[in-house]
Amino acid sequence: MNTESLGAIFLNACLVNNFVLAYFLGICPFLGVSGKMETATKMGAAVMFVMLISSMCAYGIHAFLVAIDAPFLQLISYIVVIASTVQLVEMFIKKISPALFKSLGIFLPLITTNCAILGVALFQTNKEYGFLESIVYALGAGAGFTLALVLIAGLREQLNFADVPKISKGTALTLFIAGILSLCFMGFAGLGA
């Protein structure tokens, strides 16, 4: 069993080992929906919610698979849980706010293939976190994802007015900013240890 304190787990997942900037998980939505601040915030919230639910389910599934001695089913069952949670969130958002549903567009169903979510489920299993620790880990990872997404969105909104060389428009420029942000986040190293 892991002996880190809950606060340390949160800080680690959120800042020190930020899922986007240190582990490169969830880069697709990171590049895709980070153009506008508003969408970025809501995308972050949706991802965080799915992370939380799937992390809780993953804990239960892992215990069950250990009990019946079938570890090779791990990956398949995790992905099914995530896909169903995403479906749930999709229906929920469609009902509550059709406008948001439209602005998230294709990236909403694509949360299923957001590596960050499967990453949370896999990492917590590898690290042998307990139930409470798993929840805190998922919350931290979600907060870190949202933070990175919002930071990039803010920078990109400003950069829309900048006159950059033509060939660096689009993805290349976003990657450069992400690289610089990633350097900044290295400053957090050692914080949660």
Partner: protein
């Protein structure tokens, strides 16, 4: 379309399907798909190659199966069944790599399992294999797989040469070489990919001008 014209057309297009994945529709440099493994495990050339080959294998097998089953899977549950197919092959690959080299398995870590959520594989299944014959899908998967591996290798080689002063663990520079630590760190991944994209963009714009 009648069978005759399909088969005669196929001879021309099979190689085309292969070539397009290498350059024109390169999954990494042009479509910017499957970024997570690209950035995460490209810190050395050997990791990058292994990851590329593993992904290519999963892509090939899932493309074959998806295109075989394309007439049997109901439209509503197609994405779910594609993901299940992919997850199965990823589990196979995961265990195979563990059997071949424990060390490699350790250095790739959870990223082998994360091939499941590589958007590249799902997008090929949805966009190509579900609409085309098996043989075409095989060529498509091979092209995309090789293109992906090639791109990963480009990144991995640059990062290892600059960050470690070596390639495939063979030292390239005399002792005085000061390695660029930043290149093996996460930030280096972003920078290297960004620079590759700049180069590709430059080539593309020059091509369209002439």
């Amino acid at each position: 379309m009648s069978n005759d014209s399909a088969s005669s057309k196929q001879k021309v297009t099979s190689t085309d399907e292969f070539i397009k994945g290498l350059w024109r529709d390169n999954p990494v440099f042009v479509q910017v798909l499957g970024m997570c493994p690209v950035l995460a495990v490209s810190n050395t050339a050997i990791n990058a190659l292994a990851m590329g080959l593993a992904t290519a294998f999963v892509l090939l097998m899932s493309n074959i199966l998806v295109s075989l089953l394309r007439n049997f899977v109901p439209k509503q549950v197609r994405i779910a069944s594609y993901i299940l197919i992919i997850a199965t092959f990823v589990t196979v690959t995961d265990y195979a790599i563990q059997a071949i080299s424990v060390e490699l398995h350790k250095s790739l870590g959870a990223f082998i399992s994360l091939i499941v959520v590589n958007c590249l594989i799902l997008s090929r299944a949805e966009a190509f294999a579900s609409k085309n014959t098996v043989s075409k899908s095989i060529f498509d998967a091979l092209g995309m797989g090789v293109g992906f591996t090639f791109a990963l290798f480009c990144l991995g080689a640059v990062r290892e040469i600059l960050g470690n002063g070596s390639l495939f663990d063979i030292a390239l520079f005399p002792n005085g070489f000061q390695s660029w630590i930043v290149m093996i760190l996460p930030a280096g991944g972003f920078f290297t990919l960004a620079i590759w994209l700049l180069i590709i963009n430059k080539i593309q714009t020059r091509k369209t001008k002439s």
